[in-house]
Amino acid sequence: MILPFDLILVLFVYICAIAAITIKDLLSAVVILGAYSFFMCLLWTQMAAIDVAFTEASVSAGIGTVLMIGAVSKTKRRSND
Amino acid sequence: MIVKDVLVILFMLGGFFLFFTATLGLLRLPDFFTRLHATGKGDTLAALWFLVALAVYHGFSLTSAKIVFIAVFLFLAQPTATHAISRAAFRCGVRPWTLERAVLLDEDTVEQGGEK
């Protein structure tokens, strides 16, 4: 564990989480969720959980965001809240 | 040993400076296309500096070869992503910002490019 990294990264994670649930444009929310996964990966790396970070990196960069964008493209993009 | 450390520090500071200018450009420049100028490629060169610094720090080994591969893939993938997103904006009809804050493009460019 590296303490200064931990504090800053947790702050980033909070910013991303709040932004992802408040933005009304679903596509933007999905894209910001991708950034949330980046920071989660960094957080787990600094906690020495390297395999978990590997999984999160490959999942979020390869599949997760793509699936969400596909689902948004098949449904509606705007949301009411 | 000391030469290596100095080299690493110099490269890292250079990369950090380039990252800083790229981020500053991302914040300051007026519209989307000009922001892409700052982020898409200043970042790539800065990442190259950092990778060179790490390769120097780690010495000559297979890890350095992997670092070279990371640089190659970054130089392939990053411009492609920049191009893809800017092309999407161009096709969607986003008007670029110009000096007079008015569109001064010749007509057929707009006709062929922006399909709006």
């Binding site: 590296i2 200064p4 990294f5 800053i8 702050l11 980033f12 910013i15 991303c16 932004a19 444009d25 596509l27 933007s28 894209v31 910001i32 991708g34 950034a35 990966c41 960094l42 790396t45 020495a48 390297i50 990196a57 490959s58 960069a61 793509v66 964008i69 596909g70 948004v72 493209s73 | 450390d5 690493v8 890292m12 950090f16 990252f19 981020t23 500053l24 991302l26 914040l27 989307f32 892409l36 982020t39 898409g40 970042d43 950092f50 790490l54 297979l62 890890t63 992997k66 990371i70 893939f73 993938a77 990053q78 992503a81 893809a84 997103i85 999407a88 904006a89 969607c92 986003v94 709006k116």
Partner: protein, 88 residues
């Protein structure tokens, strides 16, 4: 030397915060995508710096390579969706 790497890493995190401003408050989805692709590159570098701090860089380099190889798929898919739908 480790201190230097930690300081550089924290500085990179501050730059990520500045990019995050563009990613969260960016006027359109395009600006957000630009900010997030910038964050992706910086993430790769921070990962490698953490590897140096832990002194196990040969383990951490694999994750960085995943980001270098796969990070542009999301942007390409997003660009394709925007091109098809035609609205930004």
């Amino acid at each position: 030397m480790t201190q230097f790497f930690v300081i550089i890493g924290v500085g990179m995190c501050v730059l990520v915060l500045l990019c995050l401003y563009r990613a969260t408050f960016g006027p359109t989805i395009l600006n957000r995508a630009a900010g997030i692709s910038a964050i992706g590159t910086k993430t790769l570098i921070i990962l490698l710096l953490m590897g140096v701090i832990y002194d196990r860089i040969d383990m951490f380099i694999d994750i960085s390579m995943v980001y270098a190889l796969l990070n542009f798929i999301g942007t390409v898919v997003l660009a394709k969706y925007l091109e098809r739908s035609g609205e930004v």
